[in-house]
Each structure stands twice: as structure tokens, then as C-alpha cells.
Symmetry: C2
Subunit: 418 residues, 2 copies
Amino acid sequence: MPLVKKPINGMKDILPPEMRLRDYLISLVKETYRSFGFTPIETPVMESLDNLLSKQGGDNEKLIFKVLKRGEKLRINEAQTEEDLSDSGLRYDLTVPLVRYYSNNEAELPKPFKALQIGPVFRADRPQRGRFRQFYQCDIDIIGEAGNLAETELILATCTLLNKIGFKGFKVKINDRRLLTATADYCGVSRECCGQMFVIMDKLDKIGMDGVCRELCEAGFEASVSEKLQAFFAAFEGGKPSLDLFAELLGNYADPEIVTNLKSIIAAASSADGAYDLVFDPTLVRGMGYYTGPVFEIEIADFGASCGGGGRYDGMVEKFTGRSVPACGFSIGFERIITILLEQGFKIPDERRRVAFLIEKNMPGERMAQIISEAGELRREGCEVSLLTMAKNKKFQKSQLEADGIEEIKEYFINPIQ
Amino acid sequence: MPLVKKPINGMKDILPPEMRLRDYLISLVKETYRSFGFTPIETPVMESLDNLLSKQGGDNEKLIFKVLKRGEKLRINEAQTEEDLSDSGLRYDLTVPLVRYYSNNEAELPKPFKALQIGPVFRADRPQRGRFRQFYQCDIDIIGEAGNLAETELILATCTLLNKIGFKGFKVKINDRRLLTATADYCGVSRECCGQMFVIMDKLDKIGMDGVCRELCEAGFEASVSEKLQAFFAAFEGGKPSLDLFAELLGNYADPEIVTNLKSIIAAASSADGAYDLVFDPTLVRGMGYYTGPVFEIEIADFGASCGGGGRYDGMVEKFTGRSVPACGFSIGFERIITILLEQGFKIPDERRRVAFLIEKNMPGERMAQIISEAGELRREGCEVSLLTMAKNKKFQKSQLEADGIEEIKEYFINPIQ
């Protein structure tokens, strides 16, 4: 019986042209982030379900690929639930594994610990165009730095990377979760309901203030909430406010230290000579519930959706160790960037020259040794050289090689033409 | 409740020093193999169980981590066997996925197709020192080249890589499965039993000819088999025979074309200016049953076990496509090489200079901009620069940074000492 040719439903084979681009991007990511002192680490793709289901992952926890228990631990006939059949699964992000890794290896890690992770994560999402069940994430995190140098370095490093890739004039939006809470306080929304309010506020760019008010109303918020929010944002006259104006309007609701902290980050991370804008956005929420302080998001004009983001999540390490450790991270949308570059027809800079040697069959040993030495010379000079058996239909073979991007073809005959 | 700190049983967290070495080795692998025209590819870590259990994987098929079905497909109460609960699993090697990949994407791939794969594979082996349930494999394969240029390029590329890593004077042993079969014919062993005979012969280096004869006897082979084998190998007077002498002794049992083919590979792949020996070894078997022609294995003196190997497996693509396509591969023992290099205290060449800037808390914006610009300058020059908040106990902080390998520490105060 022939075997199954297709990859698992929702997963994909990466073909050579895309793979060359991915390799290029991964090198650039490693080189850039390493220059900022981030050190690459790796964790297993499998994690215990206790950790994966610890409520850090939000809806992703519903999308876990669970791994069947083995040996004596697997009792199929007695099993009633998935938990009877499985105690581990494939990671759905790199944050839970990072925090576990830090907790497990803290004594051997530098302080603060600046980690770089690039690797596959898995989500059993409904397969759809451009969205796969195995995909790469690319995260940098700083654990153990309470001060805003963490946020500054994360933003600087990521913007430097995006500039190196060739993205110019993009925007990094920044906010602080605690200013969102202050806004909720100002509008008279209780702590229990503010999460729901933030989700709606997050849509301001898309649905406008009228849309936000309508959704707040539909969600059961009192009319006074919409009114206050509307009046508050009206003060900016449609545009995004300066942080100073925003703080002034919030008055006592906003802790001045939070505002000062955010201003320092914006000043410091704007000071590099990169081609990007760092702007305060009071409606920026970022989905994950674990954020506790500044949050940020990359917006590349013309590409719609976000190309990455992050923020401070000071509470998470405590869940593993029982001891509070500050932490802050930034994740770029690796797959999204790959998609954009492929769509743009991105040319990898400094690609090596690709050469094929077509060698007649049964080439005698001595000549073969010469040919191999010649290939070695070109390889040391930085070319990609393939030694291939000359086909009977040489013309077809050469046209195929050219179509595949081979730039130079050399032919070697047993009896060289005199 | 605190969460689980340890990685999944039998899997490991990779700490920064090992990770730097792995990244270095992976770059070297990619750079070297690309110079030989191999193109990196990637397949999902999950494969369908139909493929994984197709008898290509030998005993590894018993070690598969199976993934639980999801949604409506999972009927726990009706399930009787593992097959009712799972239809996919984690790959245990890169060969089955490669062949599936080739079958699925053949029309879009160059001919011959020279693939490079580096990635994690998974085996639920009994955990033991130095052996993990998730580990990396690193394979190169040439699909669609029937001639021995495939073997030659695989061996040349891998030896070039090992030389670049710094291994000198190692040995590549080579044999042909069909010569093993000829030896079995010569000894009067039937085709059904020769697999078992090869497994025993493979131990010649370790247990000597007496040991081989004893094990053959214990396995139920007739005494005449041992006698013939003993007489045959006695003709080499203890040493390894030349391929010519070996062929002469086998006489009509050995197909002259197979011998000529092997001689060409040895001549061509020995001709590079690398520091290694390529030697014919008539007892080399290589475990996997799918090999059909030449097989090879790397032996690095002082390191005992094999550091990699491969061979021709012309039959495997046919299992997916129903159409025969020649194929040949070489796998280096990635994890084994990492272990050796770590044990040797290997120093990564041209490591970047690591610098830390200790910055006093609440540094004013203008000074901060200067510091960031200074860091940017060093980063562009190739240093790894970390911006850190100066700790209260600065002496302790500096000693920690030095212990972590930071080579230069610069201090920045709000009021620089006059």
C-alpha cells in the first residue's frame, strides 16, 4: 500500500526557496539579538500538561496536542477522560517553557537573564490559509531586571532587527497595563469587568469610538462608562494624545511614577538612529492576561495586522518558584514576516554563486580527482558547487538546472574536445 | 500550587554554553553542506502513524510518542487499542519524513534533490546518561542520483565538515551491502538468515573472529558457516583486506560492477586534501534494513562509538510513490559530536567580545541617549553589549558578570566623577 504523501493536516513542508529565506532570517535574528547580549536557549517541544494547562495560555490551552501516555501508565480500558490518557503535550508558545526553564536552571543563569528562543510551537487551530498547526515563534525575554532598561533593550533590539531586515518607517505602539486600569477606574469600571472593557477598547482603531460605545453597551456596561470614555477620548480631538495630556486628563487616577517610567522608555528607545516611530497608544491592550506593566506592539504600515509585540509580566515566575521575579519579553511575528517577505519577492543579500559540474559517466579516477579539487577551490571561494552525473538529455538537464537558479554550468567529458 | 520545574522525563533544557556551541556547529554544518549544493528543508515534527509504522524504522517504531486524536475523532469510551486513540506521532528520525517530503513535492524540487535536514527527533527510549528522548539529527541526502557521485559527494561533504570542526585523522569505513550478501552466499547462508549473520559479523572489531564464530553457533548457524567465514577472513592475516584481495577471494560470488563502483567511490572521495582515511571494511554492516548498496560509517579514534554513517537506500521512495527512485544519505551524530566537543572544552573560534554597561538608576534621558548610541557603535563593531541597571552591591554584580564570561564592564553614573 502506498504511504501517505501529505504532511499531517494543517502542517506544512517547507520548500527550498522559503527555507533559504527562513535560514537567512534566523541568522539575522541570532546575530542581531546576540549583539544586544541575548543568549540563545532551547527547551523540549513537549511539556507537562500541569504546566501547559496552568491558565497562562488563555484560549491556546484548548488547542494543545496531547501526547499519549506509554507503557504501564496507559490504561485504555479504565480511561474516562483525556487526563487519564495523557500527562504531556506539545507547547503552544515559548513563554511557559521559558519560565519553567528559568525556574529549573536559575542558579546557573546570568542575572539578569536575557534569553533568545526561536522554535516551533503547536496549536490545533482550525486550518486556514496562511495559518498552520506547527509554526515558529521568536521571542526575546529579560528575566530579573525590574527597571525599564529591560523594555528599552527589548524595543531597541527588535527595531534594530526590523531595520536590518529592511523594514523602514514602521511604528511601535506602547502603553502600560496600569494606565489602562486607571482609565477603567476613571470610567467607573470595576476591576472584575475591566478585562472585558479592554478587549473592546482594543478595537478602537478598527471600529471607531461609536463602535466601541456600541459594543460596551451590548456587553452590558452602563451608559455612563461609554459617555465617560467618549468624553475622555474626545479631548484628544480624534488623534492619539501625548502621554502628558493623557496623564493630565486622568489626573489622580494615574500613578505619576508609571507615567514617568513610560516616558523614559519612549525617550530612550526613540534615541537610536533607527527608522521607526515609538508612540504612546492609550488603547493598546495586547491580549495575554499575564501582562502587568508596559506593553508594546509593532505596526508595519500596509501590512495590517501586528508583526509582534510584548510587555512586562512580573507575576509569572512566581507561579513556578513561589518567589517573585520581574520579567519582560518581546515576540516578533516570525511567520508573518516570512509571509510578507515572500509576497514582496525579497532578495536575500549576498547569496552565494550556485554552480553545477556536469560530469560524464565513468570518468576515470585521475580526472575525477582534478575535478573534485577544482570544485573544492570554488567552494572555498564561497560558491555552492554540485557535482552531477551528465544526463543523456543534457539540454533538458541544463534547462532544469537553470530554472532551479543554477548560475553557472561547467561540463566535464572523458575525452575533452580537442 | 507551584508548577513543574523539571523538563519532561528524559528530555533536557539546553543551557547557554551548550547552546552557543550548538549554534556554532549548526552554522558550520549549514555553511559547509550548502557549499556542496545541499539545500536546507524542514518537515513537521508530527507524521501520520501510517508512515511512522511502515517498517522503515526498525525497533524505533516501538519508541514512538503518539499524539492523542482530537475532537469528534477521539472516542475514549469506545477505544480498545492505541490505534483507536491516535493516528499521528512524533518522528523518530528524519529519513521517513524526507522520503514523504520528496514524494509530496517532487514536481517542485531540483533533480537530483540534495537535501539538508537538521532538527529534533523523538524516541521514548529508557532515559540514560547522555541519551535523551528528544535529540537532534543532522542528515544530508541525495535523491534521484543513481551514480556513485552521490556517495562521493556525501562522503566528501561530511569529511570536509568534520575537518572544519577540527577533527583530524579520523577514518571513514565503507562497504557495500551487496558484498555482504555475496559473503553470506560464499558461506552458504540463505537470504532469509543473512540479516542475522550480518548483525553478528558487525561485532568482529569488538569480539574478534572467535567471538563471531561462537555467536554464529549460538544463533544456530551450521558449523560450516563459521568455518568458511573463518577461513575467508584468515586469508587477510588479521588485518583488513584490500578490496582487490577481497574480491579475488569471493570470486564469482561478487559482481565485478559492485567492486568497480566501490573502488571509484574510494578513489574519488579520498582525493580531497582532507585529513582522513577512507578504508574498505568488509565487516561494516550499518543497522538499518533499508540499505541496498554502499554503506559508510565514521570512526573517530579515541571516541569509540561511531560518529555517523549512511548509505544507499534505493527502495524507499517507491513505498510512497510506487515508482523507484535512487537515494543515498549520510547522517552525522550531531549530539555525539556536541558531547565530544563539550568534553574537550572546545573553544568556539572568533567569539564576539562580550561587554556590559552598568547604568545608574534614573539616568537622565539625554545621557541615556548617549549611552545607547555608544552601545550601538560597539554592537556594529561586532561586540555583544548588554545594558544593565547598576546594582546596589556593584562589586558582587561585577564578579557575577565576570564569572558569566563578560570581558569588559563599563560604568555610567548620573554624576560622573570629576
